[in-house]
């Protein structure tokens, strides 16, 4: 998964230059799409909420709109391997204007859960039992 960080990289760019970069970015997406490399990709609205605390009692506006760390969108890649994903990230046309691309392998199993395999195995049992009658209905 590619996470695009720093959604305000267009600040200070003139209209023509901005238009040119956006055309390049759109062409980049289109090229990846035609090569079948994109599973899913969407921009995120700048403002959301940050939930924390027991029972999610803290609900704050966020992320901080001007943040260079804020995630502006994502791209779920269908890459052959991790180095292809990094190469694709490196070809992103807005990098020169300050965008950062975080490249993260997607996993089948949560790493936190993986640190505790016995607990996960025990926790899965009730779910499996619940799923059995559903499978029978479907059959």
């Amino acid at each position: 998964m590619l996470l695009f960080r720093g959604p305000h990289w267009d600040r200070g760019l003139g209209g023509e230059e901005l238009q040119q970069v956006m055309d390049n970015v759109m062409a980049w997406f289109e090229g990846l799409n035609q090569r079948g490399k994109i599973k899913a990709s969407q921009p995120l609205a700048p403002q959301g909420r940050i939930i924390s605390g027991t029972n999610g009692r803290f609900v704050l506006d966020g992320p901080f709109a001007e943040s260079k760390e804020a995630v502006g969108g994502y791209l779920l890649l269908r890459a052959d391997d991790f180095s292809e994903a990094v190469e694709i990230a490196r070809s992103m046309p807005a990098l020169r204007y300050g965008v950062t691309v975080e490249v993260r392998p997607v996993l089948a199993q949560c790493p936190i859960f993986e640190r505790h395999p016995d607990i996960v195995r025990r926790a899965r049992e009730p779910v499996d039992r619940v799923m059995e009658p559903l499978a029978e209905i479907a059959a």
Partner: protein, 139 residues
Amino acid sequence: MSTTTIKSDYLLLFRGNVWDRGLSPAQLQKVVSDWMAWFERLKAEGKCAGGHPLEEEGKVVSGKQGRTVVDGPFAESKEAIGGYFYLTVADENEAIEIAQQCPGLEYGAVVEVRPVADICSVKQRAEEYSPRQMVEATA
């Protein structure tokens, strides 16, 4: 008579990838099984289209032509994104309510709720900035 409900899409980004440190086996057992049951329930209710944990270590690409490629995010970070759910729900309130059910919250996990946008905010600004050029480009 049928009623049409407009659904909107949200991304839940789970932040913090070491909140399991220091939990007792019983606490871990509970949070792991609660989390899996939560995910299964949301999928069964049609509110969650999918989700993935992310591998803790990836690469962060930046600079002109992606010349800077460093390991990241930091393995032990409260800010690092550990995974995501893709929600299709009625409105922001429902997305927030679901985020508040995250079983990791009481141990320090943070959930960022972000509306999925139809159009990239930079592209939108580019269009507002130079409507004439956009018309020419699409003509």
